[in-house]
Structure formats: structure tokens, C-alpha cells
């Protein structure tokens, strides 16, 4: 390994010169401003992640972001109308709508009046400036790794939502948290969401990301969820950002005792997507399911990077991911289960499965375990291959044409992953998206 002198790329230089100009207009109290400075300072040191940064080995942001798109401005009336049109055309998810356009909470497209009792919503952009207590207590505590994407969001965050669910409240209707990026030219957005689910409460959140296919947007989202003792959380993220978008998202979850949290990430459209999950068990006897599926064609790229921290004993975690890769698409799965020294009786398993449909498709797996306790059960598995020739033959022998036989097998392959979603309506909508993808392929 010879010495490498870091050379700033055009995108890095642009980001570096942008912060000093932009910081005065970014919302926040002096404490928030200090946080921004600190985060920016760490970005100055690291720059954009590249393949020599182990956690970003397979997603070279430095290469993917040739230029840094300018910061998105606060949405004007025309932008809100454009966002509304995009939302109307996209697959619909039931629930109380909360919408963030270009990194700012947009009440016009949100259904605050329909919020169930016990649920309160605040505009994060305002909360940053008004010294909302959750900002000081919680922000940056769930997704707290030393990571360039997190640092960039913390430096440039413009707004988003804070959702609080009071103790012992069961929210029946899901919350539909919608992030939309609009504009004719590529823009950079840095939205953020902070969710606090009280003890004994339960919540379902459907997080969707939308954008038009043309402009090369760069989105960097951070969602942090704190779920209390005996709470139940279901989180589904649907990434249907525009086909030219480079989307980086970070999800941080801190889970209390005797609680359960499920999170599912579905990637279908953006040019490049990196979804990183930081999941920490803070209380004993809890269960976490982190799963996802990606269906990629063309030259798309999707990366799921997980960090599951078994900090306490008696917790169970499951990580299950499926990738369908066509054309020159690249799939990445990097899982990590950390079992700390006293986290006895941990039960952790991760599994990554991938189907390559084309000789130019690429799958990179890195299911990693780091274990410091001796009375645990941890397993990991990874498979990569083409569709099973024998099964395909069986179907074709029964008269199905090849494209149909393939579609049937792929639907079953992804369908197995979708079973992780508890909410029937959401799962059915995603099944519809899978069918649409398969139809477009055939």
C-alpha cells in the first residue's frame, strides 16, 4: 500500500465551498449550528466515501457523484403542485400523509387534521430553530456512526418531521411519510425525520421516496426512530426515487426492552441507492427484523449496509435481503452483527440471496459477524446464482414461455422477502410494484 494523497474531486470541492455560504441560511439554534460545524469538520477530513473506505467499499460515492448538485431551494407553489402530481401518479399507500418536499415539511400536502389521538407532528425545520426538546435529547443519537453520509446530512439538514407517539397508544392507521424531490435540474436535498414511539405504543410507518426520472437529484435522508419498552414498530421504506437520482439514506433505530421492530426497504428505481441501517438493542428480550428487496435493471446500483448492535443480552435479530439483478445492475449487501461482551443469549441471523439474470450483473456480499460473547447463536448465509435451470425447465415443459416462467420464479423469489411485511395493504401494493417491474422486463 503506497501513500495516497487525497485529491479533492469537483463534487467535494463544491460541497466544501458551499457550507460557509449556506450555513447562515440553514435553520437552527446556536447549539444546532455548532452541531453542523462539527459534522462539517468531520466531512472536511474524510471527504466523500470511496472504495478504500471499508464500509463504502462497494459504493464509491466519489465516483458516482461526479458533480455536487446545488442545494434545493424551499419549494415554491409550482414545486408543491409538481410534488402533488408525482404523488398522484405513484402507487398509493393508505395512511395519514406527512409530506416533505425538497427537504422541507410541506403542510399543504400533509393531513395533519387526520392525526390520531396521541400522535403529534412537528416541522423539524422549525424545531431546529425553536429548540424543540427532542432535537437536543435525541437527534443524532440513533444514527451516530462516524460516517460521511451522516455528517453531510447533519451539516446541511433543512427540515423534515418530528413524530411523537405517546405511551400506550396503538396507532391503527399507518403514517405515510412521503419524501418528494422536484425540480427540472438536479438538486441536493438533506431531509431528516425523528420518530419517538412511547412505551407500550405501536406504530406503522410507510416511508416513500419519489422523484421524476429526468433530473439527477442527490438525496441524503436520515431517519431516526426511538422505540420504547414493549413497543411495536413496523417500518416500510419504498425507494422509488427518480431514475437518475443518487439516493443515500440512513436509518437509525434504538429499541427498548420487550419490544419489536421490523423494517423493510424496497428499492426499485433510482440510479444508485445506498441504504444504511444502524440498529441498536438498548433493552433486553427484544426482537428486530431488518429486511429488504431490490429489483434492478440497466446500470442501477443498490447497497444495503447494516450494523446491528446487540448491546444487551437476550435479543433476537433477523436480517433477510433479496436482490434481483438484470442488465448491468450491481447489488451490494453488507451486514454486520456485533455481539458485545455481555450480550449473552443473543440470537442473530442474516441471509442474503441474489439472482443474477444477466452476465453483466454483479452482486457483492459481505455478511460480517463480530462476536464477543460465548453463549450466543449467530449465523449468516449468502447465496448468489442464476435462476434454477431445473425449475425453469419444469415450468417450460408445462407450456409456459420462458419470460413467463422466469417472471413466475422471480415473483416467488421476491415474494418470499415481502412476507416480512406485516401490513397486508402495504405488501399488496409492493407486490403490484414487483409485477409491474416484471412486466416491463418481459
Amino acid at each position: 500500500m503506497t501513500d495516497v494523497t487525497p485529491i479533492r474531486t469537483a463534487a467535494e470541492s463544491a460541497i466544501l465551498s458551499r457550507f460557509p455560504q449556506a450555513k447562515a441560511s440553514l435553520p437552527g439554534t446556536p447549539a444546532v449550528a455548532a452541531l453542523r460545524e462539527q459534522a462539517f469538520g468531520s466531512f472536511v477530513e474524510t471527504g466523500l466515501p470511496h472504495r478504500r473506505v471499508e464500509k463504502w467499499k462497494y459504493t464509491d460515492l466519489r465516483a458516482m457523484m461526479r458533480e455536487a448538485a446545488p442545494l434545493a431551494a424551499a419549494p415554491a407553489a409550482a414545486d408543491i403542485a409538481a410534488a402533488e402530481a408525482l404523488l398522484a401518479a405513484a402507487p398509493a399507500f393508505d395512511g395519514v400523509a406527512l409530506t416533505v418536499v425538497n427537504g422541507r415539511f410541506t403542510p399543504e400536502l400533509s393531513d395533519l387534521a387526520a392525526l390520531p389521538p396521541g400522535v403529534s407532528v412537528a416541522d423539524l425545520g422549525e424545531a431546529l430553530g425553536s429548540g424543540h426538546p427532542l432535537v437536543g435529547e435525541r437527534m443524532g443519537r440513533a444514527a451516530s456512526a462516524d460516517d460521511a453520509a451522516l455528517a453531510l446530512n447533519a451539516a446541511f439538514m433543512t427540515g423534515g418531521v418530528i413524530v411523537t407517539v405517546a405511551d400506550a397508544v396503538t396507532v391503527v392507521s399507518p403514517l405515510a411519510l412521503r419524501f418528494v424531490t422536484v425540480g427540472d435540474v438536479g438538486a441536493a436535498t438533506y431531509p431528516r425525520a425523528l420518530l419517538q414511539v412511547g412505551a407500550d405504543a405501536s406504530l406503522t410507518v410507510i416511508e416513500t421516496h419519489l422523484g421524476a426520472d429526468g433530473p439527477a437529484h442527490q438525496t441524503n435522508t436520515v431517519v431516526e426512530i426511538f422505540a420504547g419498552d414493549r413497543s411495536s414498530l413496523n417500518h416500510v421504506r419504498v425507494n422509488a426515487a427518480g431514475a437518475a437520482t443518487v439516493d443515500v439514506s440512513s436509518l437509525g433505530v434504538v429499541l427498548g426492552a420487550h419490544a419489536s421492530a421490523n423494517t423493510f426497504n424496497f428499492v426499485v428505481n433510482p440510479a444508485a441507492a445506498r441504504h444504511q441501517v444502524f440498529f441498536r438493542f438498548a433493552g433486553e428480550h427484544s426482537t428486530g427484523n431488518i429486511s429488504g428487496a431490490a429489483m434492478l435493471k440497466g446500470r442501477r446500483h443498490a447497497d444495503s449496509t447494516l450494523f446491528v448492535d446487540h448491546a444487551v443480552p437476550h435479543c433476537t435479530s433477523r436480517e433477510t435481503f433479496a436482490h434481483v439483478l438484470d442488465g448491468e445492475a450491481t447489488g451490494v449487501f453488507q451486514g454486520m452483527i456485533l455481539v458485545r461482551p455481555d450480550a449473552q443469549k443473543t440470537d442473530g441471523k442474516m441471509m442474503s440471496r441474489a439472482v443474477l439474470l444477466d452476465d453483466d450483473a454483479v452482486m457483492n456480499n459481505k455478511p460480517e459477524l463480530e462476536i464477543y460473547a460465548d453463549d450466543v447463536v449467530c449465523g449468516h448465509g449468502a447465496t448468489v446464482g442464476a435462476l434454477d435451470e431445473d425449475l425453469l425447465f419444469y415450468l417450460r415443459a408445462r407450456g409456459l414461455p420462458k419470460p413467463e416462467a422466469e417472471a413466475l420464479m422471480l415473483a416467488a423469489f421476491v415474494g418470499e422477502a415481502l412476507e416480512a411485511i406485516a401490513h397486508d395493504g402495504v405488501r399488496e401494493t409492493l407486490e403490484g410494484m414487483v409485477d409491474a417491474w416484471l412486466k416491463a422486463r418481459a
Binding site: L356, D359, M363, N365, P367, E368, D374, V376, C378, H380
Partner: protein, 489 residues
């Protein structure tokens, strides 16, 4: 689930304070001055009477090495090594090209006897006929003796020290040296290129099945030295060779560096079986002393249907950093890696393999077991990759680890990269998935799922390790019986 009692006892029996090979042999040594510079590199080359191209090759490597930085990515932690505090050459004084064993310093012969390695052919012949093994004994920087050379040469097999090979067969060495592990490969490999002193050279001609097992026994004896050995094995078309290396060192409070490079070349239909029983001094229970084992081992399946298999039993070294790998270049070639690593005390192991599938219909199998006890840390780090042209590549990986106590750590860092749709890679760490059929068969006959799993996994690995024919593979045999019940991925 915690480790079963039996396993705990077995691992304790080979704990760091039980190290049996820690004695020092008093031999008068010829030492190079401490430190590393171009003069030392030239001196080593001159001592060995090397041709000038070899001296230049070493000097190029040395200059390159000076521009490199130590790799930091492995999960090992040690104070910086002062490369100028090491003697890069240490040879027994009385070892001036001995023509027969009678000329070898009796103290050295005694040392090998103590280690259970008889170097006198007649002593070995006393054993069972088919357990004969040809041995190359490397003591610090030089090879002291190679047995059965004549008998081997009748079959056309060349088995000698690297120094001798450079004198007797320079064309072969020049053709293959550095073609598997390039000079610039990594920090320690480049250092090795500059200062390697000895090692074994094996050449198996076309169509020859090597008539006996070959082995090299490495012994570090002198203090403040590093051992930099270089091994090169070439198996010509249709040949077969089984090679075994063993390593031990005296018990000392200082750390000693061992940076070896091993290159294997298998041509069409050739097969190389390379086994290692690594038992360098592991340091004491507090982590004082022990060998830093930074080794680059790589096999190149260059020919069609060639096969390379690595088997390793690792119990020694305070730090292990090694990844025996296979480049599966020839169509239909096969790579195998079987490993058992047991770490105790404060040992740190970062080891694994790379299977790089380049050719069509290439297959590989990885079975790695790690057992950590005491305050040790053990990491499996492996890469399986299929390149675009590796149509129908197949890999199966199974890595299990077991912890004994909660002061140690066991880690798994597998990289699985597939660039070919027809490649099928399976990686698993859950023992319950070995083979549903076998499992079902055993359970149908009354075994519990765990018993059946242990039987299948152990039976599988046993198959491989039982082929270690050596007297000094006793540890290996003991290790095989260690149950991995309670293992984690």
C-alpha cells in the same frame, strides 16, 4: 449455546502456557548486523552466492518496500515493529555447505530430534515403509539439511533448499519466482522479496506422482532475528505432490517476525496438496513475546483441471495474518481450503482465504473452523469472487467459530463477489444446513440433530486432516476431535 465441557478441556490442554517447543538450542551463529539497508540486501544475496539478476531483483523489491506502508486493515493490534532492530540473516556457523548429516552441528540435529523430526534417513526407514517423508530442515535463515534427495531425484523430483535451487536450477526459479505473488503484492511480501534467506524449492516433472511426502520444518532459534523464508512449488502437467510444513520457535519475551512467501504453480491436471501445522511460540498468558506471523501464501491453478488444496492447523503465533489463496485460472480447476485455528491467551488471528474464479467450470470449497479461548481474538476473513468469464463457477463456504469464555472474540468477514450469472456461490455458517439428506439419514437412525451435525462436519474435516501423515501432526489429530458444539457463525 456455550461450548461443551469436553471442548473446554481439550482447548486448555493446548493453552499458551503448555507450549512444548520453547527450548533454545545453543549454536554458534553467523549473524548479519542489525538493521535493513541496501548493503544488507546485497550481503544476503552474496552470502548465498546468487546470480546478479537475483541481487537486482532483491534491490528493486527493497526500494519498492521503502515506499510502502504497513497494512492496517486486519483486526490485529500490536506496537509498531522496528524493522531496524532485526538481524535479517542468522545461520549456524558450522553449517558451511554440509555434504552429509555427519557434518551438521550435532546440536541442531538434537534440536530436531527433540521436536520429533528425525533427519537421519535410516532412522526414518525404521518406521513403516509408506510413512517415509522427505524433510527440508530450515534453521533460522538457512536450510541445514534435505533428506531423501537422491531417491527423489531418481523420480525426477527436485526437492532442495531455495539457495541450492538458485545455484542449480536458476532457469526454473527465474521462470516462476514472483509470478504468483508479485514483488509488489503487499508490504510483507515485498519485504520478503528483498531479504528472504531460504525455504524449499520443489519441482515435480510432467506425469510424476511424487513418491513420498515432502515437508519442511521451520525453526526460529536465534533471538532478535526474523525468519523470511520463500517456498516455491511447481507441479508440471499431470503431476501430484503432497507437502507439509511445520513451525516452532523458542519461548522468549520479545516478539519475532516471520514473514514468508509461498508460491504454488499447478499446470494442466496437476495437483498440489499443501498442509501446514503452525505452532510458533504464541507468547505467554499475558501476551508477552511470541511470533508475528505475517505470511503470504498463494497458489495458481494455471492449467486446465489443476487442483490446489490448502490445509492448515493453526495453534501458534501471537499474531497471525495469513490468507492462503487460490487463483483458479485454468478451466475446470479446483481450489480447497480447510482450516482449524485455535487461539488462546492473548493471541490474535486474522486468517482466511481467497478463491478467485477466473476460468470456466472452476470450483472451490472453504471449510474454516475457529476456536477462541482466553483473551484471544480470531477473525475469519475470506474472499470468493467470480470474474465475468468464470462461467459455471461453484463455491461452497462453511465457516464456524466457537468461543470459550466471554473475554475472547470471534469474527467473520466474508466477501462474496459475483460477476457472472451462472456462478453459484453458497456461503453458510449455520451448521444445520450442511446437507439435509445426510442430516436426515443420521437422524433417522436415532442421532439428535446436534450429534448428526457434529458427525457430518467432523467427519468431513477428519477426512482431510487424517491425511496429515506426520509424526508432528499429533496436535492436529487432537484438534480434530474438538467438538464445535455450541458454535456460532
Amino acid at each position: 449455546m456455550p461450548a461443551v465441557h469436553e471442548t473446554v478441556e481439550q482447548v486448555r490442554a493446548i493453552d499458551v502456557d503448555q507450549y512444548k517447543y520453547g527450548f533454545v538450542t545453543d549454536v554458534e551463529m553467523d549473524l548479519a548486523p542489525k538493521g535493513l539497508n541496501e548493503d544488507i540486501v546485497r550481503m544476503i544475496s552474496a552470502k548465498k552466492g546468487e546470480p546478479s539478476w537475483m541481487t537486482d531483483w532483491r534491490l528493486d523489491a527493497f526500494r519498492r518496500w521503502q515506499t510502502m506502508r504497513e497494512p492496517q486493515w486486519a483486526r490485529v493490534d500490536y506496537p509498531p515493529i522496528d524493522f531496524n532492530e532485526i538481524h535479517y540473516y542468522a545461520a549456524p556457523k558450522k553449517n558451511n555447505a554440509p555434504k552429509s548429516l555427519d557434518e551438521v552441528d550435532p546440536a541442531i540435529l538434537d534440536a530436531y530430534k527433540k521436536l520429533g523430526i528425525p533427519l537421519r534417513e535410516q532412522e526414518m526407514l525404521a518406521g513403516v515403509q509408506n510413512s517415509r517423508v522427505a524433510v527440508d530442515a530450515v534453521f533460522d535463515s538457512v536450510s541445514v539439511v534435505t533428506t531423501f534427495k537422491e531417491e527423489l531425484s531418481k523420480a525426477g523430483v527436485i526437492f532442495c533448499s531455495m539457495s541450492e535451487a538458485l545455484r542449480e536450477h536458476p532457469e526454473l526459479v527465474r521462470k516462476y519466482l514472483g509470478t504468483v505473488v508479485p514483488v509488489t503484492d503487499n508490504y510483507y511480501a515485498t519485504l520478503n522479496c528483498a531479504v528472504f534467506t531460504d525455504g524449499s524449492f520443489v519441482y515435480i516433472p510432467k506425469g510424476v506422482r511424487c513418491p513420498m511426502e515432502l515437508s519442511t520444518y521451520f525453526r526460529i532459534n536465534e533471538k532478535n532475528t526474523g525468519q523470511f523464508e520463500r517456498t516455491l512449488i511447481i507441479a508440471e502437467e499431470g503431476s501430484y505432490v503432497s507437502y507439509l510444513e511445520g513451525c516452532t520457535a523458542p519461548q522468549r519475551d520479545e516478539n519475532q517476525l516471520h514473514a514468508a512467501v509461498v508460491e504454488l504453480v499447478a499446470l494442466d491436471d496437476a495437483e498440489i496438496k499443501y498442509s501446514t501445522v503452525q505452532n510458533w511460540y504464541p507468547g505467554d498468558a499475558e501476551g508477552k513475546g511470541g511470533i508475528y506471523n505475517f505470511v503470504t501464501k498463494r497458489g495458481d491453478c494455471r492449467g486446465r483441471n489443476s487442483k490446489i488444496s490448502w490445509t492448515q492447523v493453526e495453534t501458534g503465533s501471537s499474531i497471525t495474518w495469513k490468507y492462503p489463496s487460490c487463483i483458479l485460472r485454468g478451466d475446470g480447476s479446483r481450489g480447497e481450503f480447510y482450516s482449524i485455528a485455535v487461539s488462546n491467551g492473548r493471541q490474535q488471528v486474522d486468517s482466511g482465504t481467497k478463491m478467485i474464479h477466473l476460468g470456466k467450470n472452476t470450483t472451490s470449497r472453504i471449510i474454516a473452523k475457529g476456536i477462541s479461548a482466553g483473551r484471544s481474538n480470531s477473525t475469519y476473513r475470506g474472499l470468493v469472487s467470480a470474474h465475468r468469464k468464470a462461467t459455471n463457477a461453484r463455491n461452497f463456504t462453511n465457516c464456524d467459530s466457537l468461543l470459550i469464555g466471554n473475554k475472547c472474540g470471534a469474527h467473520t468477514v466474508p466477501y462474496i463477489e459475483s460477476k457472472n450469472a451462472s456462478a453459484v456461490f453458497e456461503h453458510e455458517a449455520t451448521t444445520s444446513k450442511i446437507s439435509e439428506d445426510q442430516l436426515f439419514y443420521c437422524m433417522q437412525r436415532g442421532l439428535s440433530a446436534e450429534e448428526a451435525t457434529a458427525l457430518i462436519v467432523n467427519g468431513f474435516v477428519k477426512d482431510v486432516l487424517q491425511q496429515l501423515p506426520m509424526e508432528f501432526a499429533v496436535e492436529a489429530q487432537k484438534l480434530i476431535s474438538i467438538s464445535l458444539e455450541g458454535s456460532v457463525g
